[in-house]
Symmetry: C2
Subunit: 221 residues, 2 copies
C-alpha cells in the first residue's frame, strides 16, 4: 500500500511543493486546512497540475487520523496554537515533520529569528502529546523548487529528530522522491543548524540572483 | 607576483592543509609560530611533502609584515591573547582569516560551543586594531582533506566578513585552489551558520563512518 502523506495547512506555497512531489512519486496525499472547502480546492488544483487524482482535501483532524507522516506547513505564528487545538486528534506513534524556518527581512537581508527554545523544531515539539514524534526535515529545500516536479532536486534533505525510528520513517518517505538524498542529521537540536542554513541559502539566492540554492554534502557517499 | 599567504600558528593540522594547498597552487606561503625554529621545521616538512621550496618558516610577527592574507590557525583558547600580543605588528589593511570552530565532544557527538559574541569569528574580530579586517572562511572544509593536495575538493568555501573588499580578496585567493568554489556568504555574523555547519559535518562523518563531509550548494551556478 502506498505511503499516506498528510499536510496540516497544506494550502500554502510550502505545502504545495511537498504535496506535488510526494503525489508525483506515487504516495497517497491528503491536504488539510481549517476549512475543508479550501483544502478541497487546493487538492483539486494540485491534482490538475499533476494530471492525477492522488491528492485529496480533508479537515486537519481527518488528515491526522489517516496519515503515516504529517508535514506541518502552517504559518510560523499560528503553528503552536494549531497544534494545541489538534492535540486530541494525534494518534500515538504519529510522525509530524516541521519544515519551516523563522526569518525576518532587514535591510534587504534575511535574518534568522532564533526561538527561545533554540530552533523552531524544538519550539513545536513542546506542543505535542507524548508518543507523537517531531522530526525536522525539508527545511533547506526551496519551496518553489519542490513545486517544480520536473526539476531534478540533486540535493540533500537533512532529517533530524530525537526518535531514531521517526527519523528513519521520514528518510524512507523522502527516498521515494527521485534525485533527493536523505541525510540523517541526528537529534532535533540539529535544527538550529538546518534553520540557519536555510537563511544562508535565501541570502545567497539574493546575492547571486538565483532562486534555487540548496545543499548537497560531498564525501559521505 | 605570487600572492603571499601567511599562517599564524601554522604548525598544526589546520595550518598544514592550508599551507599545502596554497603552495601547491603557486602561492608564496609563510608559516608562523611563536618559535621560529618550530615554524622552520614545519615549513621544511611541508616543502618535502610537496617537493617544492615555496613555504618558509618565520616568526608570527614577521608573517604579519610580509603577507597579503594571514590565516589564523591558532588553538581556540590561545587565539585572543595571541592576537592581542601581535596587535602592533598588524599593518593597516591586513586581512586575517579565521578558519576555526569551537566545538566539544559529549556522548560521542560534537556540540557547538557558542561564544557569547555569536561565533568564533565575531569573537576574534574584537581583538583586532582598526583597519585590520577579519574574514571567516574555510571553516566547513575538513583539515585532513585540505592536506591531501591530490584529492579534488569539489566543494564550496564560504567566505564571510563585514568588509566587502576583504571578502573579495579571500575569494580571489581561494580561486587559486582547483576544484574549490568560493561563495560570498555576506557579513561576519554568517559565521554563526558556518561554524554550526562544520559541527554537523563532523557528526555526519561519525554517523556515516567517513572523514570528508563537506558542502556544495546547488542552484547558484
Amino acid at each position: 500500500m502506498a505511503i499516506r502523506i498528510g499536510l496540516l495547512g497544506g494550502t500554502g506555497v510550502e505545502g504545495r511543493g511537498i504535496a506535488l512531489r510526494f503525489a508525483h512519486a506515487g504516495a497517497s496525499v491528503a491536504i488539510g486546512s481549517r476549512s475543508v472547502e479550501r483544502a478541497r480546492e487546493a487538492a483539486a488544483a494540485y491534482n490538475q497540475a499533476l494530471g492525477s487524482g492522488a491528492i485529496e482535501g480533508l479537515s486537519n483532524s481527518e488528515v491526522l487520523g489517516r496519515s503515516d507522516i504529517v508535514f506541518l506547513t502552517l504559518p510560523y505564528d499560528q503553528a503552536p496554537a494549531a497544534l494545541d487545538a489538534l492535540r486530541a486528534d494525534m494518534p500515538s506513534g504519529l510522525v509530524l515533520v516541521d519544515v519551516t524556518v523563522p526569518m525576518a527581512f532587514r535591510e534587504g537581508r534575511a535574518e534568522y529569528e532564533e526561538p527561545a527554545e533554540g530552533s523552531n523544531a524544538e519550539r513545536l515539539a513542546l506542543h505535542l502529546p507524548p508518543g507523537v514524534h517531531l522530526v525536522g526535515a525539508f527545511k533547506t529545500i526551496p519551496a518553489h523548487v519542490m513545486a517544480e516536479v520536473q526539476t531534478p532536486l540533486d540535493c540533500d534533505v537533512y532529517v533530524c529528530g530525537d526518535d531514531a525510528g521517526a527519523r528513519a520513517r521520514v528518510m524512507d518517505a523522502a527516498r521515494l522522491i527521485p534525485t533527493l538524498r536523505p541525510v540523517d542529521a541526528g537529534p532535533l537540536r540539529a535544527a538550529r543548524t538546518l534553520e540557519r542554513m536555510t537563511v544562508l541559502a535565501v541570502n545567497l539566492n539574493r546575492r547571486y540572483k538565483r532562486k534555487g540554492a540548496r545543499y548537497r554534502i560531498q564525501g559521505i557517499e
